[in-house]
Symmetry: C2
Subunit: 612 residues, 2 copies
């Protein structure tokens, strides 16, 4: 007994702090794999961090800051070894949506609240909310976000500058300013895009038909994979070198550059409790109300990304969404102390991590070390990165997120899902990504509720061996408050129909009550409103000389009916057979008593006869 | 064919304008019943209208104005003859909640919007939303509303005056001012309450045990019923007469009076498009944003009341919620042109209407005529009604709405429903009735969604006649996006458990794949997300050497699986028997081919033997 208690405690501890489960078994082989994978991911992360920070309207160094704590916390609390937590394109765009026109402190505050909400919900085991975000909503949201992000980078390709108010305004301003296009930026950007697309294809080249391939071919394949995977880093590095050389030989560079990035490690500071924006002082509550829906949407989107990616890599292991929430929450909470932006898992980096053969979440440690090294060593060189090549990296990364095929599939198979996707997509583009996401979720919930209110009710007319006719209704799913009115309607309209038919055919129903049976074998739950509804159905049926019978109800459902039914309008039987026996027995009882009566009369007669 | 078309059109017309169905059959008997019932209801309505108007903070004449159009519109569009549409206590309180501290025009605007929303939703057939308001929510809302209303009348009993900010503040101020109590008002109020309670009991007195009762007893019973039903009117009339006499003999009256009520009919005017409150000019949008959640809650509450009362009187006929919405909406729209407050059906008046033997909705016409007569003839006398007796009428009316028994029933049978009721009740009292109602609805929807996400999954291990072992999972209800993760979890954890058990018992699974069967016979709907989830479950299972088989799926569910499953991970069979035949056939095919092979070998051998 004590042993099971201890086992359970250990299990709980392993679930809540996963590192305790794998660290005792950690060995040198795993460590080597983790170091290699961690470094590879780090080299992918640095250019992404810079790009996503500029997408969020922040100095690139904050992208690097954001890459430190998320991964470190995930080492201890994360459930899936392949996940790489850090800045992502969607989190960056959400961060921009909620904090633009404010200040750096607002970003830290958003990160803090995101972490707090995630941690709280995780500890309350509210991870299941993620199940209420359906694929069409995710797809519509992701596609539109990708399009918005790619569009926002177009101005860097053209080397022009403006501040758009929203998605449509962006294109309006772009066409207004198109005359100012700088061709040097444009050609660099296009060249980078072409190169990136080419390098991406490198790993798909079929080098040989021989099975197994030779050793040389194997190494060549690994080399191509390396070039292909590190393409972002190589392109940015190459462009930075070109700019550096140009600056030192020609004085002036023909491209717009990322600009100065301060080196050095971030300093620790508590997240702000009040900030000053354009001379207005905002208190804690003002800041909360400024962030508005962001307080729930940013944590939710981060969690959805994490759970989706974790599922993709889990190989059938159950993903504990609440635990992912805790891990992400702690990462964001810690990040908010060094002015990081909200973080989540990135699919591209997680894929690199997986392909690099990571063994445990400890790989994240080496990624963070690489980022810290870059902060102290690389920053003097990062300023030479041209904005057009950074834009090229971003556009190539996000445009793969636009999903077209799913629309065709949904149009063919499920028009409701198709509508959800289109509404989410359009609302995200035209109104705003946060409103779009909310629209999609609400539409889904509305569909779900509507489906709940309209269950299938199978209907059958049956006759027992002894010729008793009755009607059998069999609702599918739970009988809850939105359902019961519909059930009532179905039953009553069937009877109304039947009565009318009988009238038309000049038939009259045989004397005696008709039994209406509700088979509850698929009803696993009910509530007070539904039970009351069934009682009032029974009452309605009495007016039509029908008796309501309930069969196959589980205990809790029976109890609900009985408690709502003070006047015993409903007849409850355990099984169909019980019901049939009961009415047959009733019939016999009545016949027997009639027999007995006539026998008595007979005896009377006999007596009289003998007397007289 | 043309005939059915015509029949259908007639049916639709009768459903949308019910008067067309019954007016051709209208006769003198029905007309007499309607006149009598209409007048009786009118006499109940007048004191209620005055009381509810003062509850909503309006001059009593607006209560009378509000009693005109609702009933008239209901004649043409209403579905249930017993319903009496007009001012009700809950609508009055909601009206106060959303329009206090503004102006009369705001009330008209609220009425207009209420009508517009109801009409629009009715035309869009959105009446089913009413099914999402469960009995515990209605009960919690009604009880707390009744307590708030009764409490708000206490100051009139004590004859003191103050303006409370909210429910709690009302009691604070009441106790602060209790020293100023006027004993004349208090004694009149208490006397009225005692009389009202006594008169209410009159109709329950058992006069005789004889069956059938004599003619005298019958008339006495009718008389008592009349006194009991008209008690509000009699009490107010009596008190007004006493005050009138006192004023003419003693000059000064010891009670606070209702005050002057202008006589005359209301004038028609368009609802305002902008108003001025305390010097601030509010445009159309400002007014809409001021009314806030009221725009949806007031129409919804009105509809819930109407549908609930209609159901109580429908005797099993289906209540068309959308049509009720249209009838109410038209009533409110028309009312907003004469500055009425939002109206709905009143349970007490509908009960009087029913008891008076109303035959059609035309009874409402005579009620409206009585109200109009009172506006021209009675108003000079209405000013003599003491506020304490009006308060007594209100308190006695609303306190019957407080439901206590339901709490005990819910506590015993359904803790979730109990929680919903308590939360709704407490939030209504302590925060505000509109927030409380929203809290209750949200809690219900949350419960519903959570229930959806956790269906019952029956599990069984089976063996075919030929000894093939497989596992059968049978989820209840629809397989929609919030459900599929749970199903996946259940299936995988069962397999995980089983594998562990086998490991512990040092058994090894027999070679070959294990079949995991999902019986879809209870699944009547699915969506893309769920189908994708099942596909990824099939993929997960492959890692564990298991094959996923789907049986008994209806066409649309099969199509969804196939469209989501490009790589054919799922095996779809129509029935269980099909599946069993298929695996048995597979087995025979393999065995036959082995047999054939060995036969060939055998022949070979034989040949060899014969050769050598």
């Amino acid at each position: 007994m004590q042993l099971t208690m201890k086992t359970k405690l250990t299990e709980l501890l392993h679930r809540k702090v996963p590192i305790l489960a794998w660290l005792p078994k950690y060995n040198v082989n795993a460590a080597v794999s983790d170091v290699l994978a961690g470094i590879t991911v780090g080299l992918t992360l640095i250019p992404q961090a810079i790009a996503y920070a500029s997408l969020a309207g922040l100095n690139p160094k904050y992208g690097l800051y954001s890459s430190i704590f998320g991964g470190v916390m995930y080492i201890f609390l994360g459930t899936t070894k392949q996940l790489s937590v850090g800045p992502t394109s969607i989190m960056a765009l959400l961060c921009l949506t909620y904090t633009h026109d404010t200040s750096l402190e607002m970003v830290a505050f958003l990160t803090f609240l995101t972490g707090l909400v995630q941690l709280t919900c995780g500890l309350l085991s509210l991870g299941f909310v993620v199940e209420f975000v359906s694929l069409p909503v995710v797809s519509g949201f992701t596609s539109s976000t990708a399009i918005i992000m790619a569009s926002s980078q177009l101005k860097y390709f053209l080397g022009i500058q403006f501040k758009p108010k929203n998605f449509l305004d962006m294109y309006v301003q772009l066409f207004k300013n198109i005359g100012k296009t700088k061709y040097s930026d444009l050609s660099l950007g296009v060249a980078c895009v072409v190169l990136l697309l080419f390098m991406k294809r490198l790993q798909d080249i079929k080098l040989t038909d021989k099975e197994p391939p030779g050793v040389k071919i194997k190494y060549l394949k690994s080399f191509l994979w390396f070039i292909s995977t590190g393409r972002n880093a190589f392109i940015l590095m190459g462009c930075a070198i070109i700019t550096y050389v140009l600056k030192n030989t020609h004085e002036k560079v023909p491209f717009a550059l990322v600009g100065n990035i301060e080196s050095g490690f971030p300093s620790l500071a508590f997240p702000p409790t009040h900030i000053n924006i354009n001379g207005t002082d905002l208190g804690l509550l003002d800041m909360v109300s400024h962030l508005n829906t962001g307080i729930f949407l940013v944590p939710l989107v981060g969690l959805v990304a994490n759970v989706a990616i974790a599922k993709a890599f889990s190989e059938g292991k159950i993903v504990d969404a609440s635990q992912e929430m805790i891990a992400l929450g702690m990462g964001n909470l810690a990040g908010s102390f060094i002015n990081a932006m909200p973080v989540a898992s990135s699919f591209s980096r997680s894929a690199v991590n997986n392909a690099s053969g990571v063994q445990t979440t400890l790989g994240g440690l080496y990624t963070s070390i690489i980022v810290l090294l870059s902060l102290s060593l690389l920053t003097p060189y990062l300023q030479y990165i041209p904005q057009a090549s950074l834009a090229a990296v971003l556009v190539c990364a996000v445009l793969t997120l636009v999903e077209i095929e799913i629309m065709a599939v949904l149009w063919k198979t499920n028009k409701r899902n198709f509508l959800t996707l289109v509404v989410t997509f359009a609302a995200c583009l035209l109104i705003g990504i946060e409103i779009g996401l909310l629209c999609g979720i609400c539409l889904d919930i509305f569909n779900l509720l509507h489906f709940n209110a309209r269950p299938n009710v199978h209907f059958d007319k049956k006759v027992t061996d002894m010729g008793f006719e009755f009607w059998l209704f069999e609702p599918s799913g739970g009988l809850l408050f939105p359902t019961v009115d519909y059930l009532r309607e179905v039953v009553l309209s069937k009877i109304y129909e039947d009565n009318n038919k009988n009238k038309m055919l000049h038939r009259t129903r045989a004397a005696g009550d008709v039994y209406i049976i509700i088979n509850c074998s698929h009803i696993d739950k009910t509530d007070y409103t539904a039970a009351k509804g069934v009682v009032s159905l029974a009452q309605d049926l009495l007016h039509k000389k029908c008796q309501l019978v309930v069969i196959n109800a589980i205990k809790s459902v029976q109890a609900a009916f009985v408690s709502a039914d003070q006047n015993a309008y409903i007849h409850v039987y355990s099984t169909y057979q019980d019901f049939v026996s009961a009415i047959h027995k009733d019939f016999y009882d009545v016949r027997n008593s009639i027999d007995t009566l006539s026998e008595l009369h007979h005896h009377d007669k006999v007596d009289h006869e003998t007397i007289f």
